[in-house]
Amino acid sequence: MAAYVSDLDLIHASQGGNQSAYGELVYRYREAVVAVVYRMCGDLSTAEEAAQEAFLRAWQHLGGYRPEYPFRSWVFRIAVNAALDALRREKPQADLEEVETSLSLAHHGGPDPETVVVARQRSDLIRKAVLALPPPYRAALVLREFGGLSYAEIAAALEIPLGTVMSRLNTARSQLGQALAGVMEAL
């Protein structure tokens, strides 16, 4: 059985050029980074590409990482920027892959089609409501709700004051609350 290596040891080894150690770091943070980037850009394949791009950028700037800050918030900051860059490059497009997956679930003994359709519509509404937020507000909300970062970590990740984090979160939640009022009442 392989011995467990801490994040800090992996970061030090990666800073020394050890690509295997960095591979392990990517493995550990992959899911969280993809989740954050997906909420930022709303498309899974774009999110995965942007998340991989974020890890490449993180490798290039690993020398500048200071271990006194959580690696998670540092890599999330890079991921959010990669997501915004991806959004600037990509045009919005229909997510046929997800639709096909939902249909496939319905045809292979998954939940009944009506449930799938309702869940699908709700997911679409949530995704569109989040995407409708202006990027600075969306970034703060995504890092809080999907990344689980504290206000201080969000402030460090987005390089904004703590008070700005609070006001952006309030605005984002207020706008989302209005947009999703119908969904919340239906639950």
Partner: protein, 202 residues
């Protein structure tokens, strides 16, 4: 501060209160306000419901497997140029078995050719002096009988001259075998050390 102002202030802090980000004094103030303000309680519940709704929303299925994702990142990392001595060492280490086999085959061939020449020389009178120089000098085994404890040999023509060759062949085979085993051990320990770092994600 009138009630409307207190409610406005509380609403500014409700999100931070929900996230557990308020300091003790401010948190107490918000809690005391919530106890007497139905609107703020309703708004807090709405925020809590919104947060639960967002966090319960799963990622779409499909996409890259973890290994494929990591591999996609790793293959785009810039390759680090190793110093010349390290590359030379890696080359030697990689082809060590081939070098050892060639060395072993070379010494074996010399031994067998020399033994054949010695055998021939013992059968042809007068040829021994001529051929002796051919096999003893290049491979340098003429000194072996002087310091190796060799068993007494039966009186067969040419055997006393072939025996050092057999010892030489055995010695070179043993040395090659030891070097090969050392190479195997080195490769195994290197891979094991590397595996400690990579086994978790491969």
């Amino acid at each position: 501060m009138n009630e409307a102002n207190r409610t406005d202030l509380a609403r500014e802090w409700l999100g931070a209160y929900l996230d557990g980000e308020l300091q003790a004094e401010r948190r107490s103030w918000v809690e005391s306000h919530l106890a007497g303000c139905a609107d703020c309680r309703a708004e807090l519940e709405q925020m809590r419901g919104l947060s639960a709704l967002l966090q319960a929303e799963p990622l779409p299925v499909g996409g890259l497997s973890p290994d494929a994702f990591v591999a996609g990142v790793m293959e785009h990392l810039p390759q680090v140029e190793e110093p010349l001595w390290k590359r030379a060492f890696s080359f030697c280490l990689r082809y060590a078995p081939l070098f050892l086999f060639v060395a072993w085959a070379f010494t074996q061939a010399i031994g067998w050719v020399a033994a054949a020449l010695v055998g021939l020389a013992s059968l042809v009178p007068g040829a021994q002096n001529l051929l002796g120089a051919v096999w003893t000098l290049p491979i340098g085994i003429g000194f072996l009988p002087g310091w190796l404890p060799l068993p007494a040999l039966p009186k067969i023509p040419g055997l006393d001259q072939v025996a050092p060759l057999a010892v030489f062949q055995l010695l070179t085979t043993a040395v090659v075998a030891i070097l090969f085993l050392a190479w195997l051990a080195g490769v195994w320990s290197h891979r094991r050390a590397k595996g400690l770092m990579t086994a978790d994600w491969k």
